[in-house]
């Protein structure tokens, strides 16, 4: 077996083994379905209740996407401001770090108070949580332009705007995409938390509701759907990254 095949097969094998143990354990020990349903039951629920899961997934997906966009825009603007105006960095840096010490759980109820039960509090929670990696990576990325290249631009009479658009911005993309991949993952958590605090739809809402009804199989099916939503999002970011950073690949074409 070559390396590539091994790399694909190994995680699948591990997953299958774990699920087999779970399946066997649940059946042999006669664990009730409202405590730990076997994987086969979860898959069956996932298929049978697909319409319901789809309905709630769309909401959660939309919250995450809007949250990510909002968090990215705010994060990138702040990163650019900080790079160009040093005093802003001194002003914001401690606050940004401190803001990360405040659990999102603590803020989410306030957002419900301020923004209501609709889409927006979840979008804001997802944005808040994705904001941090974008700022940090954005600042690093925008600063990555080297001195000599900046001098070259200056010697050519480039304006500050040209230096930003033609040098700093494209140079920041590798770091920004690293940030986006982290943010995409974290935003899933953000949106779910938002839905737990108060919602009438979305996978987080479905989980809480099913949990209260002891429909643990639906909770698991929702977790599975949430995982797929997260993976889909991560995949989309990866595809955009591969396109935007195609110059990194060594082979022509």
């Amino acid at each position: 077996m070559n390396e590539r095949v091994k790399r694909t097969v190994a995680p699948i094998l591990l997953l299958v083994t774990l699920f087999a143990i779970w399946e066997l354990g649940a059946r042999v020990a006669h664990v009730p379905g409202y405590i730990l349903p076997p994987p086969s039951r979860i898959v069956a629920t996932f298929v049978l209740r697909f319409g319901l899961l789809w309905f709630h997934s769309v909401t959660t997906f939309a919250e995450i996407v809007f949250g990510l966009l909002l968090g990215s825009a705010a994060g990138f603007l702040l990163a650019a401001a900080v790079v160009y105006v040093p005093v802003l960095e001194w002003a914001f840096h401690p606050l940004i770090i401190a803001s990360q010490m405040v659990p999102v759980f603590a803020i989410a109820p306030l957002l419900i108070v301020w923004l209501g039960y609709g889409l927006w509090p979840k979008v804001v929670v997802a944005a808040l949580i994705g904001f941090f990696p974008i700022v940090i990576n954005g600042v690093d990325g925008l600063r990555s332009a080297n001195r000599e290249t900046i001098d070259l631009f200056r010697s050519l009479g480039a304006s500050r705007w040209q230096v930003f658009v033609k040098l700093r911005l494209p140079g920041s993309l590798p770091a920004l995409f690293s940030g986006w991949k982290i943010a995409a993952t974290l935003s899933v958590v953000g949106a779910t938390i938002g839905e737990w605090i108060g919602a009438s739809r979305g996978l987080g809402f479905l989980m809480l509701q099913s949990n209260a009804l002891l429909r643990v199989d639906v909770v698991f099916a929702a977790i599975l759907a949430l995982t797929l939503v997260g993976l889909l999002l991560f995949g989309i970011v990866r595809i955009i990254e591969r396109w935007a950073l195609r110059w990194r690949r060594r082979v022509a074409g």
Binding site: N146, E148, D151, S155, L156, G157, L167, L173
Partner: protein, 256 residues
């Protein structure tokens, strides 16, 4: 040979002095450097590493302020930066742009019409052996190819004087030799005035109409040599070897 030239050329630098802040006081980097260049000629600054040759180029393009001295380009003192295109020593190709789009960066910054710049760059690529490189990204190019693209980019700034800071410094000997010939072709065909910085005696002798020999820091012009060699020059010609000896002696200070 060491007499001051006073004839007016395309560029005249008189008494350039530059110092940087240091502990304590200031360190002098350029000390009373004077020279002149005539239109279409090739001048080389030859000096030991770290002597301040790069500082000289950065002064000329206006990246560093002068303590004292005067730079005249053509008939005007300012704005001189518009007369010069600078090629920094380190690799400054933008990795996310193809070779062709790297080459048009300078004209793009000057807001030249895009289509026009691209077609001009294409024809230069074809003329100077870079056609296959057009669509490749810098990380797909060899060191020699990258430097060629960088030189074409410098040319496409459409300025009269090209300032080249050790453009062949990071290359292996073979590529370096090839590119020296290539640089001469470009210079001859495009008719620009060139100021090259190098610490390679042979390179200076092979390419230049005039060599300015710099002392170690603080740099001052120790000698001005005009190689009396017919072009194309050969490294093995007896005259070449003799003049190389002279230059080496000047460089190491033994000739003074």
């Amino acid at each position: 040979m060491r007499q001051e030239r006073t004839e007016r050329g395309i560029l005249e630098a008189v008494g350039l002095s530059v110092s940087f802040p240091s502990k304590p006081g200031r360190t002098e980097v350029l000390s009373d450097v004077s020279f002149a260049m005539e239109r279409g000629t090739w001048t080389t600054c030859l000096g030991p590493s770290g002597c301040g040759k790069t500082t000289l180029l950065r002064v000329l393009v206006g990246l560093i302020e002068l303590d004292r001295g005067r730079i005249t380009v053509g008939d005007s003192v300012e704005p001189r930066a518009n007369a010069m295109a600078y090629l920094p020593q380190q690799d400054t190709l933008l990795p996310w742009r193809s070779a062709l789009h790297n080459a048009v960066l300078s004209s793009e910054i000057a807001r030249h019409p895009r289509a026009e710049s691209l077609s001009e760059a294409r024809s230069l690529f074809a003329r100077f052996g870079l056609s296959e490189a057009e669509r490749l990204y810098p990380n797909q190019l060899s060191g020699g190819m990258r430097q060629r693209v960088a030189v074409i980019r410098t040319y496409l700034a459409h300025r009269d004087i090209l300032l080249l800071d050790e453009p062949l410094g990071a290359l292996d000997t073979l590529t370096r030799t090839t590119l020296q010939g290539w640089l001469l072709d470009v210079w001859r065909e495009l008719g620009k005035t060139v100021l090259l910085v190098t610490h390679d005696v042979e390179e200076a002798l092979l390419l230049s109409d005039r060599v300015l020999v710099f002392s170690p820091r603080p740099a001052l012009v120790r000698a001005r040599i005009e190689p009396t060699l017919a072009r194309p020059r050969s490294r093995t010609a007896p005259d070449f070897v003799t003049q190389k000896e002279t230059l080496l002696e000047l460089l190491t200070g033994e000739g003074i």
